[in-house]
Symmetry: C2
Amino acid sequence: MEKICGACRVLIRNQLASSYVRAVIRSQHSGPSTFSLRTHSCGELRNSHVGKEVTLCGWIQHRRYDFMLTLRDSFGTTQVVLKEQIGKDVDNIRNLSAESVVMVTGKVQLRPDGLANKKMSTGDIEVVADQFEILNNSKESLPFEIHDFSKVKESTRMLYRYLDLRSTRMQHNMRQRSDVAMKMRHFLWKLHGFVEVETPTLFRRTPGGAREYLVPTRQPGKFYTLPQSPQQFKQLLMVGAIDRYFQIARCYRDEGSRSDRQPEFTQVDIEMSFINKEGIQALIEELLQYAWPDNLPSIHLPFPRMTYAQAMDQFGTDKPDTRFDMKLQDVTRELKDSGVAVFSSTEGNDAFVIKVFKCSKGMNYLKRKDYEDLQKEAVKLKDGGVTFIQIKDTDSWKSSISKHLRSEARENLGKAMKVNPGDVLCLAAGKPDSVNSLLGQMRLACANRLEANGASVRDHGSFHFLWVEDFPLFLPKEDGQDGELESSHHPFTAPVDEHKELIMTQPSQVHGQHYDLVLDGSEIAGGSIRIHDAKLQKHVLQNILNEDASSMQHLLEALESGCPPHGGIAIGFDRLIAILAGEPSIREVIAFPKTIDGNDLMSGAPSLLYNDELAVYHIRHDIRDATK
Amino acid sequence: MEKICGACRVLIRNQLASSYVRAVIRSQHSGPSTFSLRTHSCGELRNSHVGKEVTLCGWIQHRRYDFMLTLRDSFGTTQVVLKEQIGKDVDNIRNLSAESVVMVTGKVQLRPDGLANKKMSTGDIEVVADQFEILNNSKESLPFEIHDFSKVKESTRMLYRYLDLRSTRMQHNMRQRSDVAMKMRHFLWKLHGFVEVETPTLFRRTPGGAREYLVPTRQPGKFYTLPQSPQQFKQLLMVGAIDRYFQIARCYRDEGSRSDRQPEFTQVDIEMSFINKEGIQALIEELLQYAWPDNLPSIHLPFPRMTYAQAMDQFGTDKPDTRFDMKLQDVTRELKDSGVAVFSSTEGNDAFVIKVFKCSKGMNYLKRKDYEDLQKEAVKLKDGGVTFIQIKDTDSWKSSISKHLRSEARENLGKAMKVNPGDVLCLAAGKPDSVNSLLGQMRLACANRLEANGASVRDHGSFHFLWVEDFPLFLPKEDGQDGELESSHHPFTAPVDEHKELIMTQPSQVHGQHYDLVLDGSEIAGGSIRIHDAKLQKHVLQNILNEDASSMQHLLEALESGCPPHGGIAIGFDRLIAILAGEPSIREVIAFPKTIDGNDLMSGAPSLLYNDELAVYHIRHDIRDATK
């Protein structure tokens, strides 16, 4: 008995000769049918199984006549033909709704000549069943049919998520997510000596933690918070000599309603001691290559790199979509004497630029309505919006500015942008930051519009990774007073080595050892080398950020207790999986997501509570109709 | 460049010839030093490395003279001898505190004749360093020394958990925990086709959810709750055809202060469709065997089984510690005419038993004070406590009852219990439930006392698993009225097949398809086959438990939408790991545990919040000194 398999032991132990036991006898010793009532899934039977007796369990997808069923499970569908003696039970079978759950046992046989279905992976065979058991009836009319779910609106899918999950699409998404996570863990743990550590999710309010959910406790006035990331804990693990940490960690962020964010989300959280930026980047590249799904085009290492300054200059964003070109170009010099009023600076030269991007052959796809819509969008983003120029011919440019544009300026611009007939230019002028931001967004909007109209813009056949690095360590504080700074990422990021002096005197000029990983225009990971020097960390918190460092005392003490140099990264797992699955929203790769208002339509979370239920936590609310 | 290793790519990319890069060049291509500044850990150098140039990073454990260091990291310690030219930097080295972090590069050499340290795994060699870099100083006096931490009181260890984690004990516990989790995942995912699904932790209040933490939301009066387990979601996944689900899930329970519980804890959560009890049990047995740490005695399958009735009868508990015998025996018949007043029933026969267990050779270990203490404990548990009998000789029994005990009764009892001189009997009489419970607890107390006094009672050399099954499905409701029932586990557990009729008429007599796994007297897993029939589930919720089923509407609807038969189990992961590590408390296997009052001493969680910070959640507290 020592080392026999579980399926056999089930048999030995099970003293009742039930159909369960008979099924278990025939079950396989590894794979998706071990320990189970079925011997095979509905997706695996082939010619080679002909003659075998099998037991299948699954949902009734279709029923034809009184004796033919298409049985479905997570792995596929199989055609089942019921033998005559079962046929006698015809009333039960006739009354069986679609989506009822049944178990059949019988022999695999080839389908009769000419009836094989080449579109179906099990289409060569059928199971001729001599045993048939209804495991559970389904009610007659379900809110939607499983194979038809793409026509169903999202809120209905969410309300009946347990049905929605049966669809091929959701089955694929859930299983791919699990596979990628497991391969990542294996790479980190087995191949590279990482330790998985579960860090607390009941934590304390951190400085600036306005988006942290609260959890009242039985201690009057005291609250836990649900952390936005395990940042502090993973750094403390480095101090604690867990020198390679990872966790696929649940994180929380209360942002009210924002499109495609979830109150709880998942990140692949990584931290290492004795590491530099290049080491972390190489690790992540290999991790992604290792965990990459086999059904997708393979990815190539190393990933390209770009500085923050370059990204803003060429793409107008710190997460450039590099699946297509249409880069921003500075044409201030070319247009300095253009004759066009909006291209004339009213300010000092440094604070004024004219930039442009080109939609090659754009005229073939963009119509008048498109320009109008795009212009409306642009005006919302910045006063004055953008200027479109349609290059009808070398000498014939159609634009709102064409009658003012001097021919020399036109020639300069045409040369700089290497224009050809049919191209469309999109220009904007003003302060560099706002021009970059405007054109960065218009670049994406134009690409979307061109693709919607049938143009081929993005390279959708492969995945485009990009490291963006060399970020400023601090940015002017939003709504802050002049000179006030805030961390561009978080207060634990180390300055680049060359700026270790500068941070004492001119922090706004300092660059940080931060790096973001961008995939197809979405930020999918961000990390940094951290500050391991207690004095520097205190300087950043107190002198630069003006934070009350008292709630960080444990971290500061830890840094002066033998803290190794360390750094890390966190991968936004939901977003990564959504991109791999080709899904527009992370809701499609989360088993039970919430709406953008934070509601779980299926279970009705969150729910109304009465004040007497809150009393143990020393809190009350003033909602009248919720008070008993 | 396509498929070279990460360490090499770091080198290629890193254009500055820093010490970092030199270290990376030498780093290995797999194992715990990839992508890192070190080439080896401090635990791996052996004779075979002699002559190699290596870079080590670590903490200074000891410093002898100005040139010898013992360098420590998570993997071990290595002796380092600094070369003369570094010795010049003697001031820095002299001032270096223990626990400072350094990096050294040099050649591995054999220690001089006679100086090898056989107790140290790296004791044959030393590293002669020609490069030495202080990565971070540690402050002079830390709260405790790492190798001495066993003398430190727990609250100090918790306050400085980042130091505590450096100890050999905590390193072992954290790494073993990670290893077991990863092997479990591999077994489930890779070998048996399970899908890992992350279920929400922001859920809604469930019936009877008094121990659920609340999370206020921006919707007035509405709260999420943190679930005690993913029970509902995993059942809904079965309805959704994710037919084999697992998750190493974070769960939450607000129990106020209870010894050795944590507000958040981890369970290995498993659910399968098309399965029976035996299948789940076989799966779990093989899972544990697969994930079992190599350094522990191996475990043998199958695990023994016992009914709930048998466990209560023989061990007085539903989680018997089967590492030792001392079973309870019924001696009502033997003592019915004993002449001893406390052994005479004042009630009907059914409701009165006399039971006993035997401590073989107990007289060699138990002293007068022990009997007194044990008796005090017993009296606290039940009026009248227990009766001890010391078998001095066949005819000479020492006991408070010996002068009343008739010789025939004594002979009967001696025969039934096969007493030998030196044995101790422990008896109690009364209602069966209270006698079982009392003697069950006294059995453990006596075993502890015997062991404390030097007796060998438990088999500490191996692990004793036990399945307890065939539980009653319902129990009389605590503080309930006559006839009111509550679920003995949870309302989703299916009755045994034989009781499918009985549940309609006499629910209190019904047994459930529930099973608990006990290890060395601790419950480490519990699960059941679930109800998949909507009508039966509604009957249980409404007619038997008198619950408001409206908050369960989604589950009831799911059951009638084609729900497969299914069942599952959850392993208490913290407890399992604590037993494997031989730790008395789960706090020793959790990286950042909370005290029994729910406080994180290191970070100060939970923390006081002011009412203006709560306003966005429409709640307020009435704690005066917390109000701004």
